[in-house]
Protein backbone atom coordinates (compact mmCIF):
# COMPACT_ATOMS: atom_id res chain seq x y z
CA UNK A 1 0.00 0.00 0.00
CA UNK A 2 2.80 2.35 0.93
CA UNK A 3 4.39 1.41 -2.35
CA UNK A 4 1.30 2.55 -4.22
CA UNK A 5 1.55 5.97 -2.60
CA UNK A 6 5.21 6.28 -3.40
CA UNK A 7 4.61 5.16 -6.98
CA UNK A 8 1.76 7.66 -7.27
CA UNK A 9 3.96 10.49 -6.12
CA UNK A 10 6.61 9.46 -8.61
CA UNK A 11 3.94 9.36 -11.34
CA UNK A 12 2.74 12.77 -10.22
CA UNK A 13 6.23 14.18 -10.59
CA UNK A 14 6.36 12.88 -14.15
CA UNK A 15 2.83 13.86 -15.15
CA UNK A 16 2.66 17.29 -13.54
CA UNK A 17 5.00 19.09 -15.99
CA UNK A 18 2.97 17.75 -18.92
CA UNK A 19 -0.31 18.86 -17.33
CA UNK A 20 1.08 22.31 -16.57
CA UNK A 21 2.66 22.76 -19.99
CA UNK A 22 -0.49 21.78 -21.86
CA UNK A 23 -2.63 23.89 -19.55
CA UNK A 24 -0.49 27.00 -19.88
CA UNK A 25 -0.15 26.66 -23.65
CA UNK A 26 -3.89 26.05 -24.03
CA UNK A 27 -4.78 29.01 -21.81
CA UNK A 28 -2.57 31.33 -23.86
CA UNK A 29 -3.72 29.96 -27.22
CA UNK A 30 -7.35 29.68 -26.11
CA UNK A 31 -7.37 33.24 -24.81
CA UNK A 32 -5.82 34.57 -28.00
CA UNK A 33 -8.24 32.64 -30.22
CA UNK A 34 -11.12 33.45 -27.89
CA UNK A 35 -10.28 37.14 -28.05
CA UNK A 36 -10.23 37.03 -31.83
CA UNK A 37 -13.57 35.22 -32.01
CA UNK A 38 -15.13 37.41 -29.30
CA UNK A 39 -13.97 40.59 -31.03
CA UNK A 40 -15.21 39.37 -34.41
CA UNK A 41 -18.56 38.43 -32.92
CA UNK A 42 -18.85 41.91 -31.49
CA UNK A 43 -17.42 44.03 -34.29
CA UNK A 44 -17.85 42.03 -37.48
CA UNK A 45 -21.01 42.01 -39.63
CA UNK A 46 -23.54 39.24 -39.14
CA UNK A 47 -22.23 37.33 -42.12
CA UNK A 48 -19.14 36.65 -40.01
CA UNK A 49 -20.51 36.75 -36.49
CA UNK A 50 -23.42 34.34 -36.95
CA UNK A 51 -21.40 31.38 -38.22
CA UNK A 52 -18.94 32.03 -35.41
CA UNK A 53 -21.79 32.02 -32.91
CA UNK A 54 -22.95 28.65 -34.24
CA UNK A 55 -19.41 27.31 -33.99
CA UNK A 56 -19.02 28.51 -30.42
CA UNK A 57 -22.36 26.99 -29.46
CA UNK A 58 -21.34 23.67 -30.96
CA UNK A 59 -18.05 23.56 -29.07
CA UNK A 60 -19.82 24.52 -25.86
CA UNK A 61 -22.57 22.00 -26.47
CA UNK A 62 -20.42 18.90 -27.04
CA UNK A 63 -18.73 17.30 -24.00
CA UNK A 64 -14.99 17.89 -23.94
CA UNK A 65 -14.38 14.16 -23.79
CA UNK A 66 -16.27 13.65 -27.03
CA UNK A 67 -14.34 16.47 -28.69
CA UNK A 68 -11.07 14.83 -27.71
CA UNK A 69 -12.22 11.53 -29.22
CA UNK A 70 -13.37 13.30 -32.38
CA UNK A 71 -10.05 15.05 -32.87
CA UNK A 72 -7.77 12.19 -31.88
CA UNK A 73 -9.57 9.22 -33.37
CA UNK A 74 -11.60 10.99 -36.05
CA UNK A 75 -8.91 13.46 -37.12
CA UNK A 76 -6.81 10.93 -39.09
CA UNK A 77 -9.80 10.23 -41.35
CA UNK A 78 -9.69 13.84 -42.57
CA UNK A 79 -5.93 14.14 -42.63
CA UNK A 80 -5.44 15.57 -39.13
CA UNK A 81 -3.02 13.13 -37.57
CA UNK A 82 -1.81 14.56 -34.30
CA UNK A 83 0.26 13.12 -31.48
CA UNK A 84 -1.66 12.71 -28.21
CA UNK A 85 0.00 15.78 -26.70
CA UNK A 86 -0.67 17.93 -29.75
CA UNK A 87 -4.25 16.68 -30.02
CA UNK A 88 -4.73 17.43 -26.33
CA UNK A 89 -3.31 20.90 -26.69
CA UNK A 90 -5.43 21.69 -29.74
CA UNK A 91 -8.61 20.28 -28.22
CA UNK A 92 -8.18 22.13 -24.94
CA UNK A 93 -7.32 25.38 -26.75
CA UNK A 94 -10.40 25.20 -28.95
CA UNK A 95 -12.61 24.21 -26.04
CA UNK A 96 -11.20 27.06 -23.93
CA UNK A 97 -11.43 29.52 -26.81
CA UNK A 98 -15.19 28.94 -27.08
CA UNK A 99 -15.66 29.95 -23.46
CA UNK A 100 -13.06 32.73 -23.55
CA UNK A 101 -14.76 34.20 -26.63
CA UNK A 102 -18.05 34.45 -24.73
CA UNK A 103 -16.30 36.28 -21.90
CA UNK A 104 -14.67 38.74 -24.31
CA UNK A 105 -17.89 39.29 -26.25
CA UNK A 106 -19.81 39.98 -23.06
CA UNK A 107 -16.96 42.26 -21.98
CA UNK A 108 -17.25 44.35 -25.13
CA UNK A 109 -21.00 44.49 -24.65
CA UNK A 110 -20.57 45.69 -21.09
CA UNK A 111 -18.53 48.78 -21.95
CA UNK A 112 -20.86 51.62 -20.95
CA UNK A 113 -22.12 53.26 -24.17
CA UNK A 114 -21.88 56.68 -22.51
CA UNK A 115 -18.10 56.32 -22.27
CA UNK A 116 -17.98 55.75 -26.02
CA UNK A 117 -20.34 58.65 -26.72
CA UNK A 118 -18.10 60.91 -24.66
CA UNK A 119 -15.15 59.81 -26.80
CA UNK A 120 -17.14 60.39 -29.98
CA UNK A 121 -18.18 63.90 -28.98
CA UNK A 122 -14.63 64.82 -28.04
CA UNK A 123 -13.60 63.87 -31.56
CA UNK A 124 -11.72 60.61 -30.97
CA UNK A 125 -11.56 58.49 -34.10
CA UNK A 126 -13.19 55.05 -34.13
CA UNK A 127 -9.86 53.18 -33.98
CA UNK A 128 -8.62 55.43 -31.17
CA UNK A 129 -11.86 54.83 -29.27
CA UNK A 130 -11.53 51.07 -29.65
CA UNK A 131 -7.86 51.02 -28.74
CA UNK A 132 -7.77 53.62 -25.98
CA UNK A 133 -11.19 53.19 -24.39
CA UNK A 134 -12.96 49.98 -25.38
CA UNK A 135 -10.09 47.53 -24.98
CA UNK A 136 -8.86 48.72 -21.56
CA UNK A 137 -12.36 49.14 -20.15
CA UNK A 138 -13.32 45.70 -21.47
CA UNK A 139 -10.13 44.17 -20.08
CA UNK A 140 -10.84 45.53 -16.62
CA UNK A 141 -14.31 44.04 -16.70
CA UNK A 142 -13.36 40.55 -17.89
CA UNK A 143 -10.27 39.89 -15.76
CA UNK A 144 -12.05 37.95 -12.99
CA UNK A 145 -13.96 35.79 -15.47
CA UNK A 146 -10.79 35.05 -17.47
CA UNK A 147 -8.91 34.02 -14.34
CA UNK A 148 -11.80 31.84 -13.26
CA UNK A 149 -11.96 30.13 -16.64
CA UNK A 150 -8.22 29.49 -16.70
CA UNK A 151 -8.54 27.71 -13.36
CA UNK A 152 -11.45 25.60 -14.57
CA UNK A 153 -9.40 24.49 -17.57
CA UNK A 154 -6.77 22.90 -15.34
CA UNK A 155 -9.35 20.35 -14.23
CA UNK A 156 -10.34 19.64 -17.83
CA UNK A 157 -6.77 18.50 -18.59
CA UNK A 158 -7.59 15.26 -16.74
CA UNK A 159 -9.84 14.29 -19.63
CA UNK A 160 -6.79 14.15 -21.90
CA UNK A 161 -5.72 10.90 -20.20
CA UNK A 162 -8.38 9.23 -22.35
CA UNK A 163 -6.38 9.96 -25.48
CA UNK A 164 -3.18 8.74 -23.78
CA UNK A 165 -1.63 12.13 -23.12
CA UNK A 166 1.00 11.29 -20.46
CA UNK A 167 -0.30 13.88 -18.01
CA UNK A 168 -1.15 13.58 -14.31
CA UNK A 169 -4.26 11.44 -14.48
CA UNK A 170 -2.80 9.13 -17.11
CA UNK A 171 0.38 8.56 -15.11
CA UNK A 172 -1.24 8.09 -11.73
CA UNK A 173 -3.98 5.86 -13.14
CA UNK A 174 -1.22 3.79 -14.67
CA UNK A 175 0.04 3.08 -11.16
CA UNK A 176 -3.49 2.11 -10.16
CA UNK A 177 -3.87 -0.37 -12.99
CA UNK A 178 -0.52 -2.04 -12.38
CA UNK A 179 -0.86 -2.28 -8.58
CA UNK A 180 -4.65 -2.51 -8.24
CA UNK A 181 -4.35 0.20 -5.56
CA UNK A 182 -7.14 2.28 -7.13
CA UNK A 183 -8.28 3.94 -3.92
CA UNK A 184 -4.82 5.15 -2.95
CA UNK A 185 -3.89 6.42 -6.40
CA UNK A 186 -7.21 8.17 -6.86
CA UNK A 187 -6.82 9.84 -3.49
CA UNK A 188 -3.38 11.13 -4.47
CA UNK A 189 -4.82 12.35 -7.77
CA UNK A 190 -7.66 14.21 -6.05
CA UNK A 191 -5.30 15.90 -3.61
CA UNK A 192 -2.86 16.91 -6.34
CA UNK A 193 -5.62 18.46 -8.48
CA UNK A 194 -7.04 20.23 -5.48
CA UNK A 195 -3.62 21.72 -4.68
CA UNK A 196 -3.16 22.59 -8.33
CA UNK A 197 -6.48 24.42 -8.53
CA UNK A 198 -5.70 26.33 -5.34
CA UNK A 199 -2.26 27.26 -6.65
CA UNK A 200 -3.46 28.36 -10.07
CA UNK A 201 -6.36 30.25 -8.51
CA UNK A 202 -3.86 32.15 -6.38
CA UNK A 203 -1.66 32.77 -9.38
CA UNK A 204 -4.66 33.92 -11.41
CA UNK A 205 -5.81 36.27 -8.68
CA UNK A 206 -2.32 37.74 -8.33
CA UNK A 207 -2.06 38.27 -12.09
CA UNK A 208 -5.54 39.76 -12.09
CA UNK A 209 -4.61 42.23 -9.36
CA UNK A 210 -1.41 43.17 -11.16
CA UNK A 211 -3.19 43.94 -14.42
CA UNK A 212 -5.92 45.71 -12.53
CA UNK A 213 -3.36 47.94 -10.84
CA UNK A 214 -1.79 48.71 -14.18
CA UNK A 215 -5.15 49.54 -15.76
CA UNK A 216 -7.01 51.28 -12.95
CA UNK A 217 -7.06 51.42 -9.12
Amino acid sequence: MMQAFIDSLWATARGLPVTLAIWLAAVVAGMALGFLVGALRFFAPRLVSWPLAALVETVRGVPFLVQCFLLYFGGPFVGIDLSPVMAGFVALSVYGAAYFSEVFRAGFNAVPPGQLEAARLLGLSRPATVWRIMLPVMALGVLPALANLAVILIKETAVLSIITVPELTFRVQGVGTSTFAFAETTLVLALVYWGLVEATAMLARATERRIERALAA
Binding site: P112, G114, A118, R120, L121, L122, L124, R132, L140
Partner: protein, 243 residues
Protein backbone atom coordinates in the same frame (compact mmCIF):
# COMPACT_ATOMS: atom_id res chain seq x y z
CA UNK B 1 -25.89 85.13 -35.98
CA UNK B 2 -26.99 82.90 -33.16
CA UNK B 3 -24.54 80.61 -31.38
CA UNK B 4 -27.01 77.76 -31.70
CA UNK B 5 -29.98 77.52 -33.96
CA UNK B 6 -32.45 74.63 -33.82
CA UNK B 7 -35.14 74.60 -36.53
CA UNK B 8 -38.19 72.37 -36.74
CA UNK B 9 -36.39 69.55 -35.00
CA UNK B 10 -38.18 66.21 -35.14
CA UNK B 11 -37.01 62.92 -33.72
CA UNK B 12 -38.89 59.68 -33.80
CA UNK B 13 -38.12 56.09 -32.98
CA UNK B 14 -40.36 53.79 -34.99
CA UNK B 15 -43.83 55.25 -34.79
CA UNK B 16 -43.11 57.14 -31.57
CA UNK B 17 -42.56 60.85 -31.94
CA UNK B 18 -40.08 61.94 -29.31
CA UNK B 19 -39.44 65.52 -30.45
CA UNK B 20 -42.17 67.25 -32.42
CA UNK B 21 -40.89 70.40 -34.00
CA UNK B 22 -38.49 72.20 -31.68
CA UNK B 23 -37.33 75.71 -32.54
CA UNK B 24 -34.66 77.32 -30.42
CA UNK B 25 -32.25 80.17 -30.97
CA UNK B 26 -29.45 80.75 -28.51
CA UNK B 27 -27.29 83.86 -28.51
CA UNK B 28 -23.63 83.59 -27.55
CA UNK B 29 -23.22 83.82 -23.78
CA UNK B 30 -26.77 82.72 -23.00
CA UNK B 31 -27.53 80.03 -20.45
CA UNK B 32 -30.71 78.17 -21.38
CA UNK B 33 -32.44 76.17 -18.68
CA UNK B 34 -34.49 73.25 -19.96
CA UNK B 35 -37.12 71.82 -17.65
CA UNK B 36 -40.03 69.47 -18.08
CA UNK B 37 -41.50 66.19 -16.87
CA UNK B 38 -39.59 62.93 -17.15
CA UNK B 39 -39.91 61.58 -20.69
CA UNK B 40 -40.73 64.99 -22.18
CA UNK B 41 -37.70 64.82 -24.49
CA UNK B 42 -35.08 66.91 -22.68
CA UNK B 43 -32.27 64.40 -23.08
CA UNK B 44 -33.32 63.68 -26.65
CA UNK B 45 -33.14 67.36 -27.48
CA UNK B 46 -29.60 67.65 -26.13
CA UNK B 47 -28.55 64.41 -27.81
CA UNK B 48 -29.92 65.59 -31.16
CA UNK B 49 -28.09 68.89 -30.80
CA UNK B 50 -24.90 66.98 -30.02
CA UNK B 51 -25.49 64.71 -33.00
CA UNK B 52 -25.65 61.55 -30.88
CA UNK B 53 -29.23 60.77 -31.90
CA UNK B 54 -30.37 60.98 -35.54
CA UNK B 55 -33.01 63.56 -36.36
CA UNK B 56 -36.02 62.86 -38.55
CA UNK B 57 -36.47 66.40 -39.78
CA UNK B 58 -35.25 69.90 -39.11
CA UNK B 59 -31.77 71.23 -38.56
CA UNK B 60 -29.19 72.08 -35.95
CA UNK B 61 -26.55 74.73 -36.61
CA UNK B 62 -23.79 76.12 -34.44
CA UNK B 63 -22.63 79.57 -35.52
CA UNK B 64 -24.45 79.01 -38.77
CA UNK B 65 -22.84 75.69 -39.64
CA UNK B 66 -24.31 72.21 -39.45
CA UNK B 67 -22.46 70.11 -36.92
CA UNK B 68 -21.49 66.49 -36.49
CA UNK B 69 -20.25 64.71 -33.39
CA UNK B 70 -16.57 65.24 -32.75
CA UNK B 71 -16.17 68.43 -34.75
CA UNK B 72 -15.69 70.35 -31.52
CA UNK B 73 -18.74 72.58 -31.89
CA UNK B 74 -20.76 70.99 -29.11
CA UNK B 75 -19.60 69.61 -25.78
CA UNK B 76 -21.77 67.52 -23.51
CA UNK B 77 -21.73 66.63 -19.84
CA UNK B 78 -23.74 63.54 -18.95
CA UNK B 79 -25.70 62.54 -15.91
CA UNK B 80 -23.44 59.50 -15.47
CA UNK B 81 -20.14 61.44 -15.91
CA UNK B 82 -18.88 58.79 -18.36
CA UNK B 83 -15.28 59.21 -17.33
CA UNK B 84 -12.89 56.55 -18.59
CA UNK B 85 -12.13 54.42 -15.53
CA UNK B 86 -8.63 53.30 -16.51
CA UNK B 87 -7.30 56.85 -16.91
CA UNK B 88 -6.40 59.44 -14.28
CA UNK B 89 -8.28 62.72 -14.13
CA UNK B 90 -5.42 64.37 -16.01
CA UNK B 91 -5.37 61.64 -18.66
CA UNK B 92 -9.15 61.81 -19.04
CA UNK B 93 -8.85 65.50 -19.86
CA UNK B 94 -5.65 65.26 -21.89
CA UNK B 95 -6.56 62.32 -24.14
CA UNK B 96 -8.57 64.26 -26.72
CA UNK B 97 -6.09 67.15 -26.58
CA UNK B 98 -3.39 64.74 -27.62
CA UNK B 99 -5.27 62.55 -30.09
CA UNK B 100 -7.63 65.10 -31.63
CA UNK B 101 -5.85 68.41 -31.15
CA UNK B 102 -2.51 66.64 -31.71
CA UNK B 103 -0.84 68.54 -28.88
CA UNK B 104 2.46 67.20 -27.55
CA UNK B 105 2.08 65.27 -24.29
CA UNK B 106 3.54 68.02 -22.14
CA UNK B 107 1.30 70.74 -23.54
CA UNK B 108 -1.78 68.50 -23.38
CA UNK B 109 -1.02 67.74 -19.73
CA UNK B 110 -0.50 71.42 -18.94
CA UNK B 111 -3.83 72.32 -20.52
CA UNK B 112 -5.53 69.42 -18.76
CA UNK B 113 -4.20 70.67 -15.45
CA UNK B 114 -5.41 74.17 -16.22
CA UNK B 115 -8.88 72.83 -16.98
CA UNK B 116 -8.85 70.78 -13.78
CA UNK B 117 -7.77 73.86 -11.82
CA UNK B 118 -10.71 75.71 -13.31
CA UNK B 119 -13.08 73.20 -11.70
CA UNK B 120 -11.11 73.20 -8.46
CA UNK B 121 -9.43 69.83 -8.89
CA UNK B 122 -5.80 70.72 -9.54
CA UNK B 123 -4.74 68.68 -6.51
CA UNK B 124 -6.48 65.49 -7.65
CA UNK B 125 -5.18 65.31 -11.23
CA UNK B 126 -3.36 62.02 -10.61
CA UNK B 127 -6.40 60.18 -9.23
CA UNK B 128 -8.44 57.72 -11.19
CA UNK B 129 -12.23 58.06 -11.23
CA UNK B 130 -12.75 55.25 -8.70
CA UNK B 131 -10.79 57.32 -6.17
CA UNK B 132 -12.95 60.42 -6.65
CA UNK B 133 -16.35 61.33 -5.22
CA UNK B 134 -19.29 61.66 -7.59
CA UNK B 135 -19.10 65.44 -7.47
CA UNK B 136 -15.39 65.35 -8.23
CA UNK B 137 -15.95 62.92 -11.09
CA UNK B 138 -18.55 65.18 -12.61
CA UNK B 139 -16.18 68.14 -12.32
CA UNK B 140 -13.48 66.14 -14.13
CA UNK B 141 -16.04 65.41 -16.84
CA UNK B 142 -16.75 69.13 -17.10
CA UNK B 143 -13.03 69.88 -17.32
CA UNK B 144 -12.64 67.22 -20.02
CA UNK B 145 -15.32 68.93 -22.10
CA UNK B 146 -14.08 72.46 -21.37
CA UNK B 147 -10.53 71.65 -22.43
CA UNK B 148 -11.74 71.12 -26.00
CA UNK B 149 -13.31 74.60 -25.98
CA UNK B 150 -16.69 73.79 -27.52
CA UNK B 151 -18.83 76.65 -28.80
CA UNK B 152 -21.89 75.35 -26.97
CA UNK B 153 -21.91 73.31 -23.77
CA UNK B 154 -24.74 70.91 -22.95
CA UNK B 155 -25.49 69.62 -19.47
CA UNK B 156 -27.93 66.72 -19.12
CA UNK B 157 -29.01 66.53 -15.48
CA UNK B 158 -25.42 66.96 -14.29
CA UNK B 159 -26.32 66.46 -10.62
CA UNK B 160 -29.05 63.85 -10.88
CA UNK B 161 -26.68 60.99 -10.07
CA UNK B 162 -25.15 62.77 -7.08
CA UNK B 163 -25.91 62.66 -3.39
CA UNK B 164 -27.59 65.93 -2.42
CA UNK B 165 -24.59 67.24 -0.48
CA UNK B 166 -22.38 66.82 -3.56
CA UNK B 167 -24.54 68.81 -5.97
CA UNK B 168 -23.40 72.24 -4.75
CA UNK B 169 -19.79 71.87 -5.92
CA UNK B 170 -20.98 70.93 -9.41
CA UNK B 171 -23.64 73.63 -9.61
CA UNK B 172 -21.06 76.21 -8.47
CA UNK B 173 -18.78 75.24 -11.37
CA UNK B 174 -21.63 75.57 -13.87
CA UNK B 175 -22.63 78.94 -12.42
CA UNK B 176 -19.07 80.20 -12.72
CA UNK B 177 -18.95 79.08 -16.36
CA UNK B 178 -22.23 80.84 -17.12
CA UNK B 179 -20.98 83.98 -15.41
CA UNK B 180 -17.87 83.76 -17.57
CA UNK B 181 -20.01 83.87 -20.70
CA UNK B 182 -20.06 80.19 -21.74
CA UNK B 183 -23.00 79.45 -24.02
CA UNK B 184 -24.89 76.59 -22.46
CA UNK B 185 -28.03 74.51 -22.31
CA UNK B 186 -28.73 72.97 -18.93
CA UNK B 187 -31.30 70.28 -18.26
CA UNK B 188 -31.91 70.15 -14.54
CA UNK B 189 -34.49 69.42 -11.91
CA UNK B 190 -32.77 71.80 -9.48
CA UNK B 191 -35.35 74.53 -9.99
CA UNK B 192 -33.69 77.08 -7.72
CA UNK B 193 -30.44 76.62 -9.60
CA UNK B 194 -32.15 76.97 -12.98
CA UNK B 195 -34.04 80.06 -11.85
CA UNK B 196 -30.80 81.71 -10.72
CA UNK B 197 -28.67 80.61 -13.65
CA UNK B 198 -30.74 80.78 -16.80
CA UNK B 199 -31.15 83.78 -19.01
CA UNK B 200 -34.07 81.88 -20.47
CA UNK B 201 -36.03 78.83 -19.42
CA UNK B 202 -37.61 76.41 -21.86
CA UNK B 203 -40.39 74.12 -20.67
CA UNK B 204 -40.75 70.91 -22.68
CA UNK B 205 -43.67 68.53 -22.63
CA UNK B 206 -44.35 65.62 -24.98
CA UNK B 207 -41.55 66.67 -27.28
CA UNK B 208 -42.72 70.24 -27.73
CA UNK B 209 -41.82 73.61 -26.27
CA UNK B 210 -44.78 74.64 -24.16
CA UNK B 211 -43.36 77.99 -23.18
CA UNK B 212 -40.00 79.72 -23.12
CA UNK B 213 -39.06 82.93 -21.40
CA UNK B 214 -37.06 84.53 -18.62
CA UNK B 215 -37.11 82.67 -15.28
CA UNK B 216 -39.24 85.39 -13.72
CA UNK B 217 -41.96 84.52 -16.21
CA UNK B 218 -41.72 80.70 -16.15
CA UNK B 219 -41.44 80.43 -12.37
CA UNK B 220 -44.49 82.59 -11.77
CA UNK B 221 -48.26 82.68 -11.77
CA UNK B 222 -48.11 83.90 -15.35
CA UNK B 223 -46.71 80.60 -16.62
CA UNK B 224 -48.86 78.10 -18.51
CA UNK B 225 -51.06 75.97 -16.24
CA UNK B 226 -49.11 72.85 -17.24
CA UNK B 227 -45.90 74.47 -16.01
CA UNK B 228 -47.47 75.56 -12.76
CA UNK B 229 -48.80 72.06 -12.19
CA UNK B 230 -45.32 70.66 -12.88
CA UNK B 231 -43.63 73.12 -10.53
CA UNK B 232 -46.23 72.39 -7.85
CA UNK B 233 -44.79 68.89 -7.47
CA UNK B 234 -41.47 70.54 -6.57
CA UNK B 235 -43.02 72.98 -4.13
CA UNK B 236 -44.65 70.13 -2.27
CA UNK B 237 -41.20 68.74 -1.59
CA UNK B 238 -39.84 71.87 0.06
CA UNK B 239 -39.39 71.35 3.77
CA UNK B 240 -39.13 74.93 5.02
CA UNK B 241 -41.76 75.60 7.58
CA UNK B 242 -42.95 79.17 8.15
CA UNK B 243 -43.06 79.88 11.87
Amino acid sequence: MSALSVRGLHRSVGATQILRGIDLDVTAGEAIGIIGPSGSGKSSLLRCIAGLDPIAAGSVAVEGRATRPGDGAVGMVFQQFNLWPHLTARQNVALALRLVRKLPVREADARAEAALAQVGLAALAARKPAALSGGQQQRVAIARTLAMEPRVLLFDEPTAALDPELTTEVLDVIRALAAGGTTMLVVSHEMGFVAGLATRVVFLDHGQVVQSGPPAEIFSQRAEPRIQAFLQTYLSRVAWVQA
